[in-house]
């Protein structure tokens, strides 16, 4: 019973409290400091970015900025800002807030902004509704544009200036401009947001409040939905295996839309420091040993697609459709391993490897088990090493104590934000979700360098398509599937999934039918 998103021809009703299942509480709830989906899930209703992703037009819809343009030389970008907007404490919002956020927070402190805004030199504010970003080196406007939804949450300058930003109490009791005000956090229990009566759009938001109940157990999420004690669970909080049962419950709908802009990729990370794995034939053989269709059908129960590389298929700006996947071909895998000088020895095995599945998702763990079996079929004896988050991060990204790892990097709307870093060489140890694989290719580095400096959108897209071709040729990491998430909601909740990153957007048009 898959239901389409959106309104069903009824006029929106004002009022009501929406109860949402949350699986955890971020250590830091400030989206300008920590641009991550766990933070946005709660904070994006309170603190707004300059623009949000959209299915219409050029892919963006205005939030705090109403228009944006980049200079031809890539040295500046101009943002027109919305006027008449006030912070939740009543102070007016203006270009000074944007300048402060960009220079002091995104550029210096934000997990993703430190790279994208590295060359930001100054932000001019000729009037309260204009912010002009000046860069010391050409910065592609295409990259800035694509970064607007996730990397540009604006903070109130008057609460942060002159303080220790990382330790500011406003990181817990957020003050923003969005449709909901931060009301209360009871640790371990819930976050409560309440309607912002001074919100700029008349009549909105429709909901009186949103309560995020912390429900760490996934089976309990399904029970709470069934009992109508929560009306919404996002990010596949209900286990895929329970979906068929829960979708049959009257009043509950499963909504696959609303995550197009939040794609995760299931990949096999390869440690090139291991002599055998530095040989591209061995990596290709491993890729041939994996059946992506089995992964999609058995691990994701159909809620994923086979991947052909580091850019997901939905991204028309950058995706190279002509890149072929290695394809499931165990005979070819065996031949390649023979060719690479790894004959079958005692017991039919060629070499022993350790697989470290990331503990982030049940699918990454299951992929570890599947890969072990798939490799055994081509004569690779693999052991699965299960770690928790801290141990996994340390082993793969700092001490490099692994042979293969199962990872799930996030694609963030532009290869320049968090994808190229998986292929660039020369990064220090200890940078998570980066090339800690020992892969170093002068050709790849040169290509990525050109793309990073390219200020022409068409040229830049073409360079990133070349990057996908090179990635497919070298195969430093093996992309298996791309996946996003499912929302399970009561059908009383309306206007779900209205944009490509709905779960992490503002919800000013969501409403509850009586």
């Amino acid at each position: 019973m898959l239901a389409a998103a959106g309104a069903r021809g009824q006029a929106p009703r004002r009022g009501g409290t929406l109860f949402v299942a949350a699986d955890g509480e971020p250590r830091n709830l400030n989206p300008a400091l920590v641009a991550s989906n766990g933070v946005f899930f709660v904070a994006s209703k309170v603190i707004e970015p300059l623009a949000e992703m959209s299915r219409d037009g050029d892919g963006l819809s205005p939030r705090l900025a109403t228009s944006w343009s980049g200079a031809a030389d890539g040295r500046s970008a101009t943002f027109r800002l919305r006027e008449g907007v006030s912070w939740h404490d009543g102070r007016p919002f203006g270009s000074g807030d944007v300048a402060f956020s960009a220079l002091e927070v995104w550029r210096k402190l934000q997990n993703l902004g430190r790279a994208v805004f590295r060359d930001l030199e100054a932000v001019e504010t000729p009037d309260p509704a204009t912010a002009i970003f000046r860069f010391s080196a050409p910065t592609p406007f295409q990259l800035l544009r694509n970064a607007l939804p996730a990397l540009t949450s604006v903070l109130p300058r008057h609460l942060y200036e002159g303080t220790d930003i990382v330790a500011n109490p406003a990181n817990r009791t957020l003050v923003g401009t969005g449709p909901f005000r931060f009301a209360e956090h009871r640790p371990g229990e819930y976050y409560r947001l309440e309607r912002n009566p001074a919100y700029r759009e008349a009549g909105r938001p429709y909901l009186d409040s949103i309560v995020y109940r912390v429900l760490p157990d996934r089976a309990a999420v399904a029970a709470a939905l069934e009992a109508n004690q929560v009306q919404l669970s996002a990010f596949s909080a209900v286990p895929l295996a329970d979906l068929a049962r829960i979708a049959a419950v009257p009043g509950i709908v499963v909504i696959p839309q609303g995550y197009e802009g939040i794609t995760y990729q299931l990949v096999v990370e390869v440690n090139h420091r291991r002599r055998e794995l530095a040989d591209s034939r061995v990596r290709r053989a491993i890729a041939h040993a994996i059946d992506p269709r089995f992964v999609v059908d058995a691990i994701f129960l159909g809620h994923a697609r086979a991947s052909n590389g580091p850019v997901p298929r939905w991204d028309a700006q950058f995706h190279a459709a002509d890149v072929a996947t290695p394809g499931f071909d165990p005979a070819r895998a065996n031949a390649l391993l023979d060719e690479a000088g790894l004959p079958r020895g005692a017991g039919g095995m060629r070499l022993r490897l350790r697989i470290l599945p990331a503990p982030w998702f049940e699918q990454t763990r299951q992929m570890g088990d599947y890969l072990r079996q798939a490799l055994r079929a081509v004569g690779i004896d693999a052991q699965v090493v299960a770690n928790d988050s801290a141990a996994h991060t340390r082993a793969v990204y700092t001490t490099h104590d692994f042979d293969l790892a199962i990872g799930s990097p996030v694609y963030r709307n532009d290869p320049g934000i968090s994808t190229a870093i998986l292929y660039e060489s020369g990064l220090p140890a200890g940078v998570p979700f980066s090339n800690q694989y020992g892969y170093a290719s002068a050709e790849m580095d040169a290509l990525l360098g050109r793309a990073a400096r390219s200020i022409d959108a068409a040229e830049r897209s073409a360079l990133y398509r070349d990057f996908q071709r090179l990635a497919a040729r070298d195969l430093p990491i093996i992309h298996v599937a791309e996946f996003s998430f499912l929302t399970v909601a009561r059908d009383s909740l309306r206007n779900v999934a209205g944009n490509p990153r709905w779960a992490t957007s503002h919800w000013d048009d969501a409403w509850l039918a009586g």
């Binding site: 640790p187 912390v214 760490p216 004690q229």
Partner: protein, 325 residues
């Protein structure tokens, strides 16, 4: 009374080294685990090398091992546990928030365990070998074999989802207590988790009590009571059940610790923000100060609970507390 005082004094004196050992164990365990608090945090958010270095410096993780151990012990000695690395809040505040929930849940579970356990045990042990005993003993065995996460989910599905008698989880109704007041609201939230956590112990207590009673029936003083023509009901209570309760109380004291620790699963299923879940978060977050705080607190709870059990035992059996010390 003198015996009771002696028990209190002895327990307090032995608490200090216990607490020190527990704190050192917490530190050593997290040191032995691969990855630190920054790795645990970066796993959630990512960040470049400079970011990780700044965070390590901020959290005091950049020092050498002896330096960190000294800082840790210094904090303990000054009874100031400082900030939790995983939650970025003072450890004392976090524990003060969670401890009452765990104590309530423990009390509820102990109530279920003692009430149900003693009831089943008495009814079985009153006539061992009878039909009622066979039925109840089998029931107790089944209860003992049930994993508590499974029991928790079954209770939720039946009593919260199907019948709607109780909430599916949490510790209060969010947005103000319903008619009946906050206390009744809290009680309604406590019923299912208490049963889920206490049922296994109830079965264990019932079996222990029954076994003790079976043994007592063949004791000389019981046969003498028979011979004197005392009524069976009086014999069951005074001569059979009372001595058999001693091992049950000892068992209760022994299991207070597992009640604190064993509540992780039940707290997770019922979304109860208690110490069990917090301990899990402290370990996955590699948060030595928070874990030490939790263990210290749990140690104190266990020590106090054992003290209460010893005092109760001294009442049940006056020989206890006189001889040793």
């Amino acid at each position: 009374m003198r015996g009771a005082l002696r028990i209190v004094a002895r327990r307090c004196a032995s608490a200090v080294p216990t607490i020190l050992v527990v704190a050192l164990a917490a530190f050593a365990l997290l040191e032995a685990a691969p990855g630190d608090a920054v790795d645990a945090y970066l796993a959630q958010v990512g960040g470049d090398a400079g970011f990780a270095a700044e965070l390590r410096a901020r959290l005091g993780l950049a020092d050498s091992l002896p330096g960190r151990l000294a800082a840790f012990l210094g904090r303990l000695a000054s009874l100031d546990l400082g900030m939790s690395a995983a939650l970025a809040r003072p450890v004392v505040d976090v524990i003060a928030e969670r401890l009452p929930n765990t104590l309530l849940l423990m009390a509820g579970a102990a109530g279920v365990a003692a009430g149900l356990g003693v009831a089943i045990g008495l009814l079985s042990g009153a006539r061992p070998g009878g039909a009622r005993d066979a039925l109840l003993s089998t029931g107790a065995l089944a209860l003992l074999a049930m994993p508590n996460f499974w029991l928790a989910l079954v209770l939720v599905l039946i009593f919260a989802v199907q019948l709607g008698w109780f909430p599916t989880g949490g510790i209060r109704t969010i947005g103000g207590a319903p008619p009946g007041g906050a206390a009744l609201d809290a009680l309604r939230h406590l019923v299912l988790p208490s049963i889920a956590l206490g049922a296994g112990y109830a079965a264990m207590f019932a079996r222990t009590l029954r076994a003790g009673m079976v043994e007592a029936w063949s004791a000389d003083h019981v046969r003498a009571a028979h011979a004197r023509g005392l009524r069976r009901r009086a014999i069951v209570w005074r001569a059979v059940a009372r001595p058999a309760l001693v091992p049950v109380l000892v068992l209760l004291g022994q299991h207070v610790g597992t009640l604190v620790g064993g509540s992780v699963v039940v707290e997770t299923v019922f979304a109860v923000p208690g110490m069990g879940r917090l301990a899990f978060e402290a370990v996955t977050g590699r948060d030595a100060l928070l874990l030490a705080g939790i263990l210290l607190c749990a140690t104190c709870v266990v020590l106090v609970a054992n003290l209460l059990v010893d005092l109760a035992l001294a009442r049940l059996d006056p020989r206890i507390g006189q001889s040793d010390g």
